[in-house]
C-alpha cells in the first residue's frame, strides 16, 4: 500500500470549508485537540481513486496568514513546520465563488510558502443566481494551480477534487508574488542575512508570534540590522503586502471573472432589511430564543421519561437475574443508575446543538452579533459576546473558547468571566428534576408552568451574566483597543449533513467525555454509601432488630429501616452529616449536601449522585424522580423537596461555579489562576447567599 497523502483544508470562515471536509470524509472523521491547546482539531480519512488514501485536516478558518488568534496560529504553525507529522503534501484552499476576491488573498499567501496548493471554488450552484462566470483555464494559468469547481450542496465536483488531490505532485509550487516586490531594500537585506531561507517564510516568522518561529526568531533578532524595524514599520509593510496581493488578484480576476449584476437576485438584502431591523430584528431574535427553549423542554420530555424508566427497570432486572453479591449491587445501584444519569441528557443536548448549529450555519448568528453590539458594549461586552453567551447554553467550555475572536482583551476577559452564568446543559437535568418536583403542571397562555420556570431560569442566567459584566466593566481597570470586525456572510439554508454531523459529534463527545466522569463518580459514591466504618454500620441489622423488636413490623419495613440506618452510618453518611450544618440553612439535608459536593466536579453529577444514594439498599423499581418525591425532611417533616428548598436549590445551581473543566479552561484562556479562583469563590459565595435568602424567605 502506498503512503497516505496529507491534505490540509484551509479557507476563510463561511466558505463551506467544513462542508467540503464532510463531503470528503463522511463519517470517517474524528475531533480532538491540538496538543497543548484547546483548539479543535478535525481530521478524517478520504479514499481516493486507485486505492490511495488521504489524511485530511480541517484547519480553523482564517482570513490570512497574519494570525491574530490562537485558532489562526494553528494554521500558520502547521504550514511553517516541515517536520510536523501533519505537514501537508498538498494544501487545499476552499473559497466561496461569491467572495472569490477576498478568499484569494489567503490562497496567494499559502502559494508563496511553496507548498503545492489546490484551489477549490465552492458554492458553484450559486453562480447562476449571481450572474457570475469564470474562465477556469485562464485562472489556472494565472494562479498556477489546479482548480476544482464544486458544489457541496448539489454534491457536484467532489470526484474531480479527489482526483486532483490524488495527483498532487502535478500541482505547481511557483509562488504568486515575490516577497521582494513588497519592499525591495528590506527584503534583499533579509535574504542576504539568511540566504538559505524562503523569504516569505522569514517574513511571517518576523511578523508573527508563532511558537514554531521562536528558534528562528532568535536567529533573526541576533542579526542587528533587523531589530531596527519598529512595530509601526512592520505594520506598514504588512499593509503594503496586502495591497500588493489585492493588486495581483484584481488583475487576475479582471480577465478571469465576469459578473453580470443584472442577473443577480438579491435575497440577502431583503432578509437583512427585516432581520437587522431596529424593531423586527430584536423581536425575531426573541421569538427564536423562545421557540428554542420551549422546544427543548417539550420535545425531549418523551424520550427522557422513557430513558428514566428504562434504566429503573434495567437496574431491577439486573438485581433479580444475576447472582447475589457485592458486584451485582454495584451494577444495579451504582453503574446502571450512573449510566442512566448520562444517557438521559442526550435528547436535550442533541436538540440544543441542533438549534445552535442551524443558527450558525444559516448566517443568522452574525446578524445577532451586529444587532447586539451596541447594547452589549454598554455592559462592557462585545456584540461577539452574544455567541459565547448563547452557546454557553450548551456548555461553557466551547463558549469560552468561542471568545477568541473578540478583538478587545477587556471585552474578551469579561465575556469569559460571565459566561459560566448562562444556563449550560449540565444544569438542565438538575433544573428539570427539581422543577418537575416543585412546580405544578398546568398552562399559562399556552406555555406550561414548568416550561415557563425553565425559561425564567435561562433568563436569570443571562441577566446575571450581563449585570456582572456591567460591574466588572466598572471595576476592572484594563485599557485595550476596541477593534470589532465581523463578516456578514450570505444567508444559507443549513445543510443537513453538516448539522447532523455536528449534533452527532457533540453528543458523542458529551457522552464519552462527561460520561466517564459521571460513571467513575457514581462507582465511588456507591462504594462510600455501601460501606462504613465501625460497629454502627457492621451491626446495623442487629441494632435495628433489637430497637424495633417490640413493634410488630413487616419484613419490608425492617429491611428499609436497616438500609437507611446503614446509609446514615456509611462513609458518605458520616461526611454528609459533617457538612450538614453549613447547608441546613438552605433547606437541604445531608444527602443533597453530598450531591452538591460531588457536583463541584461537574454539575450533572447531582442527579446521578442522588440516584445512587437513593438506590443503595432500595429494592423496588422506582424512577429517580419518584424516590426524590418520597424523601421526607428529617426535622420539619413534609416532603424534603418542597417549594422553598426547591427554589433555593435552583438558585444555588444557577449561580454556583461547579465545573472543574470550566475552571481549567478559564485558566488556560486567561493564562492565570487569578481569574478562575475569583470565579470559583465569588460565584459560589453569591450562590450560597442567594439560596439562603430564598429559603429563609419562602419557608
Amino acid at each position: 500500500m502506498s503512503k497516505q497523502i496529507n491534505v490540509a483544508l484551509i479557507g476563510n470562515p463561511n466558505t463551506g470549508k467544513t462542508s467540503v471536509f464532510n463531503a470528503l470524509t463522511g463519517l470517517n472523521q474524528k475531533v480532538g485537540n491540538y496538543p497543548g491547546i484547546t483548539v479543535e482539531k478535525k481530521e478524517g480519512i478520504c479514499k481516493l481513486p486507485r486505492g490511495v488514501k488521504a489524511h485530511i485536516i480541517d484547519l480553523p478558518g482564517t482570513y490570512s496568514l497574519n494570525a491574530s488568534s490562537l485558532d489562526e496560529n494553528v494554521v500558520i504553525e502547521l504550514l511553517l513546520n516541515k517536520n510536523d507529522k501533519d505537514f501537508p503534501d498538498i494544501a487545499v484552499v476552499v473559497t466561496d465563488v461569491e467572495n472569490l476576491k477576498r478568499n484569494l488573498l489567503l490562497f496567494t499567501q499559502i502559494k508563496d510558502l511553496e507548498i503545492p496548493t489546490l484551489l477549490v471554488i465552492n458554492m458553484a450552484d450559486r453562480m447562476r443566481y449571481k450572474g457570475i462566470s469564470l474562465d477556469i483555464d485562464y485562472l489556472e494559468a494565472q494562479l498556477q494551480t489546479k482548480i476544482a469547481l464544486i458544489s457541496t450542496r448539489k454534491k457536484e465536483g467532489i470526484d474531480n477534487l479527489k482526483h486532483l488531490i490524488a495527483n498532487y505532485k502535478e500541482v505547481s509550487v511557483t509562488p504568486c508574488i515575490k516577497a521582494s516586490d513588497i519592499d525591495k531594500e528590506y527584503f534583499e537585506n533579509l535574504q542576504k542575512a539568511f540566504p538559505n531561507q524562503l523569504l516569505y517564510k522569514l517574513w511571517l516568522v518576523i511578523t508573527q508570534d508563532v511558537n514554531f518561529g521562536k528558534t528562528d526568531r532568535k536567529e533573526i533578532d541576533a542579526v542587528a540590522n533587523f531589530k531596527t524595524k519598529s512595530k509601526a514599520d512592520l505594520k506598514r509593510l504588512q499593509q503594503k503586502e496586502t495591497i500588493k496581493r489585492y493588486q495581483f488578484i484584481n488583475n487576475v480576476l479582471r480577465e478571469g471573472q465576469t459578473i453580470d449584476v443584472s442577473q443577480a437576485k438579491d435575497l440577502r438584502s431583503k432578509l437583512d432589511r427585516i432581520l437587522t431591523h431596529k424593531v423586527w430584528g430584536y423581536a425575531i431574535f426573541f421569538v427564536i430564543l423562545l421557540t428554542i427553549f420551549q422546544a427543548i423542554y417539550d420535545w425531549s420530555s418523551v424520550p427522557m421519561d422513557f430513558i428514566d424508566s428504562t434504566f429503573a427497570f434495567l437496574s431491577e432486572w439486573t438485581k433479580n437475574q444475576l447472582p447475589q453479591g457485592a458486584f451485582t449491587n454495584l451494577l444495579a445501584e451504582g453503574i446502571i443508575p450512573g449510566l442512566g444519569g448520562i444517557v438521559i441528557f442526550i435528547p436535550q443536548i442533541a436538540f440544543l446543538f441542533l438549534f445552535i448549529s442551524v443558527l450558525e450555519e444559516s448566517g443568522y448568528m452574525s446578524r445577532v452579533v451586529f444587532l447586539m453590539d451596541r447594547v452589549m458594549r454598554r455592559f462592557g461586552l462585545s456584540g461577539k459576546s452574544v455567541v459565547p453567551l448563547i452557546s454557553g447554553t450548551a456548555c461553557a467550555i466551547p463558549a469560552i473558547m468561542a471568545t477568541r475572536n473578540i478583538e478587545s482583551w477587556k471585552e474578551r476577559l469579561i465575556t469569559i468571566l460571565v459566561t459560566p452564568f448562562t444556563t449550560c446543559s449540565a444544569r438542565l437535568p438538575v433544573y428539570l428534576i427539581i422543577i418537575s418536583l416543585i412546580i405544578p403542571e398546568g398552562r399559562f397562555l399556552g406555555l406550561g408552568y414548568q416550561a415557563l420556570t425553565l425559561m425564567l431560569l435561562y433568563f436569570l442566567g443571562f441577566a446575571t451574566a450581563v449585570l456582572s459584566a456591567y460591574i466588572l466593566n466598572k471595576v476592572l481597570k484594563i485599557k485595550s483597543k476596541t477593534f470589532f470586525v465581523v463578516e456578514m456572510p450570505n444567508y444559507k439554508l443549513p445543510m443537513f449533513k453538516n448539522v447532523a454531523l455536528t449534533v452527532l459529534e457533540k453528543t458523542k463527545s458529551f457522552v464519552f467525555g462527561a460520561g466517564k466522569i459521571i460513571l467513575a463518580i457514581s462507582i465511588i459514591l456507591w462504594f462510600l454509601a455501601s460501606y462504613g466504618p465501625g460497629d454502627d454500620f457492621n451491626n446495623a441489622e442487629s441494632i435495628i432488630k433489637t430497637e424495633y423488636a417490640a413493634q410488630q413490623l413487616s419484613e419490608d419495613e425492617i429491611s428499609q429501616h436497616i438500609s437507611s440506618y446503614k446509609l446514615e452510618h456509611s462513609y458518605i453518611g458520616i461526611t454528609g452529616h459533617a457538612i450538614e450544618p453549613i447547608i441546613r440553612p438552605l433547606g437541604y439535608d445531608w444527602k443533597i449536601g453530598i450531591a452538591i459536593v460531588s457536583s463541584f466536579a461537574a454539575r450533572e453529577v447531582f442527579v446521578g449522585t442522588l440516584a445512587t444514594i437513593y438506590s443503595v439498599g432500595n429494592d423496588d423499581e422506582a424512577t429517580i424522580k419518584n424516590r426524590m418525591a418520597a424523601e421526607v425532611n428529617p426535622i420539619l417533616g413534609g416532603p424534603l423537596f418542597n417549594f422553598a428548598s426547591g427554589i433555593s436549590l435552583l438558585l444555588f445551581y444557577a449561580f454556583a461555579m461547579q465545573c472543574m473543566s470550566t475552571l481549567a479552561v478559564v485558566k488556560r484562556e486567561t493564562n492565570s489562576w487569578k481569574w478562575p479562583t475569583l470565579q470559583l469563590f465569588i460565584m459560589s459565595g453569591f450562590a450560597y447567599v442567594v439560596a439562603l435568602i430564598a429559603y429563609q424567605f419562602l419557608k
Binding site: 506598514r236 470586525v485 456572510p489
Partner: protein, 76 residues
C-alpha cells in the same frame, strides 16, 4: 475637511481613500477595505452603531470608532 466613513448615511456610497491610520486593524484591510474600493453603508444598527458595510462585495460590520479613521470620498 476630509470625510470619514463614519459620516456615511444609509444607502450612500463612497470610495475609500486612505486606511493608513494605526487604529485600523490589519484584518480589515485583508477583508478588502483598501484605497480605491467602493464602500456602501447597508444598514445601521440601533443607536447608529455598528455599521454594516458592503466593501466591494464583502459584507462586514465595524464600529463607528474604527470607521472614523477611514478616509473616504463621497460619491456625488
Amino acid at each position: 475637511m476630509q470625510n470619514t466613513l463614519a459620516e456615511l448615511k444609509r444607502g450612500e456610497r463612497a470610495t475609500i481613500v486612505d486606511v493608513s491610520s494605526i487604529h485600523i486593524p490589519l484584518k480589515l484591510l485583508e477583508m478588502g477595505c483598501l484605497p480605491g474600493n467602493l464602500v456602501e453603508l447597508v444598514q445601521l444598527a440601533p443607536f447608529q452603531d455598528p455599521m454594516y458595510l458592503n466593501i466591494n462585495g464583502t459584507h462586514l460590520a465595524i464600529r463607528k470608532e474604527t470607521a472614523s479613521h477611514i478616509i473616504i470620498e463621497k460619491e456625488l
